[in-house]
């Protein structure tokens, strides 16, 4: 390899690292998460093994022998030599001797009763936490104990004297595990739930409508300002860029002021006898119009900039020549301007498809998917599922599966666009100089 190649690679390295860290790694992790049952209930970092009331109920449902689950359901503390030895080692001989003298051989159901007895002893530890730890040394059952590993758990169960067949053991371990497990259930859920289908439909609708508006309105603005005198064109363009440069929260808040029951639109229309109403959330149609316009104005400004700069690149002589030939404005647009805009239109369309597919910020801020989830697009639905829930139930696994679907659709859409617009030909040579 020549040195120049190495140098090139050196320049590329930061970009490669960034692509790996911020694109590849998240996608791979999302794919991994999507095949798990991770949620705020299972945690991310792994689980433990625990038998509690809830586990005992599930065990019965799963055909675990009732006699055995009843035995596991006891919370027993027995004062025996084993525990006394441990107490002596941790808390001194005096305490152990006193327990031996007062409580030897006794059996307690639940720690609270034993604690009460221990508290009466004179040589007890003075910290309540230590007292509880001492009491735990007499525990001869597994109920409500968290075991960090399967072996420790099974050893613990073994000590209670409950004998398990291989089947019992498998059911018990599976039920008692509190962490996540590998599963394809997320994908089954996605295909079977009505709400995902609705989100898919909403997304298609949203992307199609907003994209058409973005490109169409962007083109309109670029071409109309192209024919304006320079100063006026600059003013118009600056005005239309405002939605993009405003902070999203502020921009959406202004839309809310515009559309609220007590907002500008309602007050203005009340002069004409129109009942005041919330023009953003009154019906599905209202909400969609607002969503498309809110996103559309932001997107259109980007299109406008790109298209305008592409139009600037057209040699003035070309336009002058066409005017000499007697072409009217429409003919100029049709035969000179639009052909030069093919590349920016491709770029805007593909870029915006991808960004609209995954973006939900303006929808989240304005309707939050309402009314009645009618504007909840896939990305917002994913966000709600994985990270934003009033009850705090965050379903990371399902959310990841939903997100992965978007990634796959995004890649498919990119490939489709590259073929449709013959990307290779477009990047081969700048046509403007041919």
């Amino acid at each position: 390899m020549r040195r120049a190649h190495l140098l090139g690679l050196g320049f590329m390295t930061p970009a490669l690292i960034i692509v790996f860290l911020f694109f590849l790694a998240p996608v791979v992790l999302t794919a991994v998460f999507s095949f798990t049952s991770m949620s705020s209930g299972t945690g991310i970092s792994g689980g433990a093994y625990e038998i509690n009331e809830q586990t005992l109920r599930s065990l019965t449902d799963r055909g675990f022998p009732k006699a055995k689950s009843e035995k596991l359901g006891h919370d027993l503390y027995r004062i025996g030599e084993e525990g006394l030895g441990a107490v002596e080692a941790d808390f001194g001989k005096a305490f152990a001797d006193e327990i031996r003298a007062e409580l030897s051989g006794e059996l307690f159901e639940g720690r609270r009763d034993l604690e009460r007895e221990l508290k009466k002893l004179r040589s007890r530890p003075r910290s309540i936490r230590d007292l509880k730890k001492a009491a735990d040394l007499f525990k001869r059952s597994v109920l409500n104990t968290r075991f960090e590993s399967e072996t420790a758990f099974l050893d613990g169960v073994g000590e209670t004297g409950v004998e398990l067949t291989a089947d019992d053991q498998a059911v018990l371990v599976k039920t008692a595990y509190t962490g996540w497990s590998w599963t394809t259930a997320n994908y089954e859920l996605i295909t079977s739930m009505a709400s995902t289908w609705r989100a898919a439909k909403n997304t298609a609708f949203y992307v199609l409508l907003t994209l058409s508006f973005n490109v169409g309105f962007g083109l309109f603005l670029a071409i109309t300002t192209f024919y304006l005198p320079k100063g006026q064109a600059a003013i118009f363009r600056a005005i239309w860029i405002l939605p993009r440069i405003l902070p999203p929260v502020l921009y959406v808040m202004m839309w809310k002021w515009l559309t609220w029951d007590t907002g500008f639109l309602s007050i203005f229309l009340s002069n004409f006898g129109v009942e005041p109403r919330n023009w953003m959330l009154n019906s599905d149609i209202n909400a969609w119009v607002c969503i498309v316009l809110i996103n559309g104005f932001v997107g259109a400004s980007l299109g406008m900039i790109l298209f305008s700069s592409a139009l600037r690149a057209i040699p003035p002589s070309m336009l002058a020549a066409s005017e000499v030939d007697g072409a009217n404005r429409w003919q100029q647009i049709r035969h000179i301007l639009l052909p030069q805009l093919q590349w920016p239109i491709l770029f805007t369309t593909s870029y915006q498809t991808l960004s609209l597919l995954t973006s939900f910020d303006y929808i989240y801020l304005s309707t939050d998917g309402g009314p009645g989830r009618s504007t909840e697009v896939w990305a917002l639905y994913t966000f709600h599922t994985a990270l934003n829930n009033y009850g705090g139930v965050l379903q990371y696994g399902l959310g990841a599966a939903l997100a992965l679907v978007l990634v796959v659709i995004g890649i498919a859409a990119s490939l489709f666009y590259l073929r449709l617009f013959k990307f290779n030909e477009l990047v081969s040579q700048p046509r403007i100089e041919q």
Binding site: S39, S40, G41, T42, G43, I44, S45, G47, A48, N52, E53, Q54, R57, S58, D61, R112, E115, R116, K119, I128, R129, L131, K132, N144, R146, T178, L189, S192, M193, A194, S195, R277, N278, L281, N282, S283, D284, T367, D368, G370, P371, G372, R373, S374, L387, N388, N389, Y390, G391, G392, V393, L394, Q395
Partner: protein, 455 residues
């Protein structure tokens, strides 16, 4: 002085100091920062956090008397956008190993968070038989327990009443005596949702309230909506099997009521999502005829919203029964102090001591009265501030005996979310109530599987 000697002096000083502290050993001060995060906490609820600070003061005095020096810095945080953001923050912080020591949150979080190992049982760290824990109401302690283990200490109690604006009720034909007797009628099941529709329509026809203000519900998801399900005979959890219950008839009737209220113009179709500030201002100024809220609303109405004569303007009762299948009811949704799992065992122990001290009747009373919540322990009725507060006394007497809590169940969050989603589609008219319930059923069956009983 040369730079070198200066450097030499500094290093010697540092070394001497280091040696001194090493030799003095345990007599050195213990410095600890305890982080407390509280969800859903407004200005009036500030004692949720301040109580920990007061407790820290008391605890370090106790240590001082024992001859030990304890310096606790309490790091308080409550500026979360909403409950969803708060829970997201807590869960993600805990997963990344930087959980706050103490969280003040809904008792419903106990089930998932304990299973995930994010929180540890309070009963492992404090003596449950000692003051003031032995004075806390047993039923509240049950609500903060899961699988028979006490995970949290109740931070406050509350319940969620139904409200009537007296002037509007009078204008549609109720006498003062009849309005005074309303709570009893509601409790007896004689005033139901049918009456609400009827009275709301009257208020609308007489133009006492604007369209959409006959019945003005909470504008966002919350435990309140489970009350309506219960009003129509719904049951949240099967007591025998511990499974969640979807009663289709009750759910349909509950959705139908909201659809009817919208149809009759009593409630706005796009009501969900109304800004809370606007909502509070409207209900506290008589813009709505009937609405529902929480006992803590009293503080907001009489405080920030400036309603001077609460009892002269507003009547309150249980949430009425929906029909003959259901009953008048109210849900209490206590918040709890929870301890998160930490590597530093001593920090958990001290945090446990702090929440225990913060539960002292006198300290808790400050929160209860300032925020118009209800007390957590018997002894509070012997504290003048509490005993002489009319709202605390009447609300406790009228509501609490009939209050139940939502179940601490691993999947209850999914259940309540699906229930609210369904309500939203029926409310906004995207679907009919029957269609909405069918979708809720399909979704819950898919998501909950064995954990659900459909009736």
């Amino acid at each position: 002085m040369t730079k070198f000697t200066h450097f030499l002096r500094q290093t010697t000083a540092v070394a001497v100091l280091g040696l001194a502290s090493a030799l003095s050993g345990q007599a050195l001060a213990k410095d600890l920062t305890i982080t407390v995060w509280a969800g859903g906490t407004n200005d009036a609820d500030i004692y949720r956090l301040d109580a920990i600070e007061m407790a820290a003061d008391i605890l370090s005095r106790e240590w001082e008397i024992r001859g030990e020096d304890l310096n606790i810095t309490v790091d308080k945080k409550r500026d979360f956008a909403g409950w969803a953001e708060f829970k997201q923050a807590v869960t993600l912080a805990a997963e990344s190993g930087s959980a706050p020591n103490i969280v003040v949150t809904s008792h419903l979080d106990i089930a998932p968070w304990s299973q995930a190992g994010l929180i540890v049982p309070v009963e492992d760290y404090v003596d449950m038989d000692s003051w003031p824990l032995n004075n806390i109401y047993d039923n509240l302690m049950e609500i903060t327990s899961y699988n028979g283990i006490v995970y949290g200490l109740p931070q406050d109690a509350e319940s969620r009443p139904f409200f009537f604006w007296r002037d509007t009720m009078k204008a549609i034909g109720y006498s003062d005596e009849e309005i005074d007797a309303l709570p009893a009628k509601v409790e007896a099941g004689e005033y139901t949702f049918a009456n609400i529709l009827e009275d709301g329509k009257k208020a609308l026809e007489m133009e006492l309230v604007q369209p959409g203000y006959g019945f003005y519900p909470r504008p966002s998801n919350g435990p309140d909506y489970a009350q309506f399900y219960q009003s129509f005979g719904g049951q949240l959890q099967d007591s025998e099997t511990g499974k969640l219950v979807l009663d289709k008839q009750a759910m349909t009737d509950f959705y139908q009521f909201f659809a009817d209220a919208v149809e009759a113009g009593l409630t706005r179709k796009n009501h969900i999502g109304t800004e809370w500030d606007q909502w509070y201002a409207e209900v506290a100024s008589g813009k709505a005829a009937m609405w529902h809220g929480g006992t803590w609303h009293y503080a907001r109405y009489t405080g920030k919203e400036g309603l001077d004569d609460f009892f002269g303007n507003i009547q309150f009762s249980l949430i009425p029964a929906g029909n003959e299948n259901g009953r008048a009811n109210t849900i209490t949704h206590p918040l709890a102090y929870l301890l998160t799992a930490q590597e530093d065992e001593e920090a958990i122990e001290i945090a446990a001591q702090l929440i225990k001290i913060a539960s002292e009747p006198r300290i808790n009373t400050l929160h209860a009265i300032k925020s118009a919540h209800l007390g957590i322990s018997h002894e509070q009725s012997n504290i003048e501030l509490y005993a002489n507060d009319r709202w605390a006394a009447e609300a406790t007497e009228r509501l609490l005996p009939h209050a139940n809590a939502q179940p601490n169940h691993l999947n209850y969050g999914k259940f309540s979310e699906a229930m609210f989603k369904g309500l939203e589609t029926a409310w906004t008219g995207t679907k009919t109530p029957a269609e909405a319930v069918a979708e809720v059923e399909a979704e819950l069956t898919a998501v909950l599987g064995d954990d659900l009983i459909v009736r």
